[in-house]
């Protein structure tokens, strides 16, 4: 079997989409069987920063052998990424993690994204065959709404500042209409995911959530990236599962928020 490894990707594009939000297109050659919800590890050049930065796959182009990634400048590592120029190379590993399940029977699907949790939902929306409604929440400026419009029946935006869409959160969008989808997929901040879980459970709608945790190995070996997963009927039957390997996507009813 050929062994996987950290590889060099060529940067085809690396540009600001908005304040502190960048998109990067990586030419990786072979994208593998990349599934929406999976992520790649990007590595810093600066030797003071050892750990990978996990970035979700926003779009895959298998033929061109490229990934589109959207990232937010949060700390020193993503700051370093903004300095990379076209044609420069970056170390990457992936695709990693489990990804969303692509249920072909679903007819009505609700996608709920918040902030930099929005990007992985785009590739997902492109692959799902049912009717998709997309609810997106941001602080100020939205991203990717144009891209979603091309593949979804409906795209609604909420911003906490009120600069775009309604003033509020995706939960406010959820209140505005009577949504009764066959399934919900969601990715975003923990608070939002918890609210989505509760909303879905009340209505008995299956939901998948993509979780975020700080990582070290990214491949399931070090156990730093765990999240609490309920593994039985008793709430005490929980175990830590690995976001990088068992996730990042989990069934909503199993995820235990504290």
């Amino acid at each position: 079997m050929e062994k996987k490894n950290i590889n060099k990707a060529r940067i085809l594009k690396n540009e600001a989409l908005g304040p502190e939000i960048y998109q990067m297109v990586l030419e990786v050659g072979d994208t593998g069987e990349a599934v929406p919800g999976q992520f790649v590890n990007l590595y810093c050049k600066d030797g003071a920063r050892l750990l990978p930065r996990a970035i979700s796959i926003c779009e895959v182009d298998r033929k061109a052998g490229t990934f589109r990634l959207i990232y937010k400048v949060l700390g020193r590592g993503t700051e370093e990424f903004t300095q990379l120029k076209e044609n420069e190379e970056i170390d990457w590993l992936g695709p990693l993690g489990s990804g969303f399940t692509l249920n072909t029977e679903d007819r009505e699907i609700l996608l709920i994204g918040g902030g930099v949790g929005v990007p992985p939902l785009l590739e997902l929306a492109k692959r799902l065959t049912g009717k998709k409604r997309v609810l997106l929440g941001f602080e100020n400026e939205s991203i990717l709404t144009g891209d979603f419009s091309k593949v979804a029946a409906e795209v609604a935006v909420a911003t906490t500042s009120g600069t775009e869409g309604i003033k509020g959160t995706v939960m406010d969008l959820l209140e505005q209409k009577e949504y009764l989808p066959d399934r919900i997929y969601s990715c975003g901040p923990k608070g939002m995911l918890k609210a989505v879980k509760d909303w879905a459970r009340e209505r008995n709608i299956p939901a998948e959530l993509s979780m975020e945790e700080r990582m070290a190995c990214g491949i399931g070996a070090c156990l730093v990236c765990t999240c609490k997963i309920n593994e039985g009927p008793d709430p005490r039957d929980w175990n830590y599962q690995r976001v990088c390997k068992d996730g990042p996507v989990f069934n909503a009813e199993e995820v235990m928020f504290e």
């Binding site: 003071a48 070290a216 190995c217 730093v224």
Partner: protein, 315 residues
């Protein structure tokens, strides 16, 4: 006879057991090998070292469990592990099916817990036991066995009595006198020592104004700690005759060589695997090339060869 160059010998003997080469993963950074098999041929490693195993499943600490630091990282996994039964059922058969030596890292919070794990491993197809004495001893008010020479002696002695495999005791660096702990382990019957485990550290998140790790403190690892690790290996090598496994920040073959020159018979690679899952193979290759260019027949010649005869006192 062929004129081909003689291949330098990377094999080393550790407590009577021969390893293909002196390079192995550090416990807790490599699972039990399964996850890394997609990245490298496990059989090329000198040995496989498992994640710490306790007598019962441990859930570990809440997240965040990791923080990046300048040239290193902090972890507070808290020895999450599914317990010895699960290990014997799920992991050991996998390890056994690979042609490689195996060292099981043992976790515990009391001497009895350690002894239970080691007893369960009696006569199992395991080549070495590595006793992690950096855990706080619950019975002794949370003081780690590894930070007290007397306690290190006691735990080594009792665990050794129950062990059917060679016992390596893994030392904590959070001590005033590493030599004293090393001597205590040797006196207690250890067949070798490995060092260092992580340095206790912390990070504060200035946004929340609270410790970043849910556990407040974590263990510092990675290249940042290499100078401290190397110094401790060098000091321990002066104090004991049993073999030493050097650990701490090793990321290149040059790093590995430094530890060997300081007195290590073998080395473990931890954090560096996260940046490059194949780094151990590159270290093995680098060492082999070095021996070839320097015309050295076998790496064992270099163990401890870096010692000064006369040493100053640092101030």
């Amino acid at each position: 006879m062929s004129s081909r160059e003689k291949r330098p010998k990377l094999a080393v003997k550790l407590a009577g057991v021969e390893l293909k080469n002196p390079v192995m993963p550090a416990s807790g950074t490599f699972g039990s090998g399964k996850e890394y098999e997609a990245y490298l041929d496990l059989e090329k490693l000198g040995m496989i070292v498992t994640k710490g195993v306790a007598d019962r499943p441990w859930k570990g600490n809440p997240t965040p469990r990791v923080a990046e630091t300048h040239g290193g990282m902090l972890n507070s996994v808290g020895l999450q592990n599914p317990g010895i039964e699960h290990f014997l059922r799920e992991d050991l058969p996998f390890l056994q099916s690979r042609n490689t030596k195996t060292m099981v890292n043992i976790a515990g919070r009391s001497i009895e817990e350690y002894v239970r794990v080691v007893t369960a491993l009696q006569r199992q197809p395991v080549d070495f036991l590595e006793l992690n004495i950096s855990c706080p001893n619950i019975k002794e008010g949370g003081v780690a066995f590894g930070t007290d020479a007397d306690m290190a002696y006691q735990v080594t002695k009792k665990v050794k009595a129950a062990a059917t495999q060679p016992l390596i005791v893994k030392l904590s660096p959070n001590v005033t006198d590493i030599g004293a702990v090393a001597r205590a382990c040797e006196a207690g019957g250890a067949d070798g020592i490995s060092l260092i485990n992580t340095l206790l550290g912390m990070k504060i998140d200035i946004k929340t104004r609270r410790p970043l790790l849910a556990n407040t403190f974590g263990g510092l690892s990675g290249p940042a700690i290499k100078p401290v690790a190397l110094r401790m290996v060098y000091q321990a090598a002066k104090e004991v005759k049993i073999p030493i496994i050097g650990i701490g920040g090793i990321s290149t073959w040059e790093d590995a060589l430094e530890f060997i020159l300081a007195g290590a018979a073998a080395v473990q690679v931890g954090t560096a695997n996260f940046r490059n899952p194949r780094v151990m193979l590159q270290i093995i290759e680098g060492l082999e090339n070095y021996l070839r260019t320097e015309n050295i027949d076998g790496i064992e010649e270099l163990i401890g060869a870096g010692h000064e005869l006369q040493e100053g006192i640092q101030c």
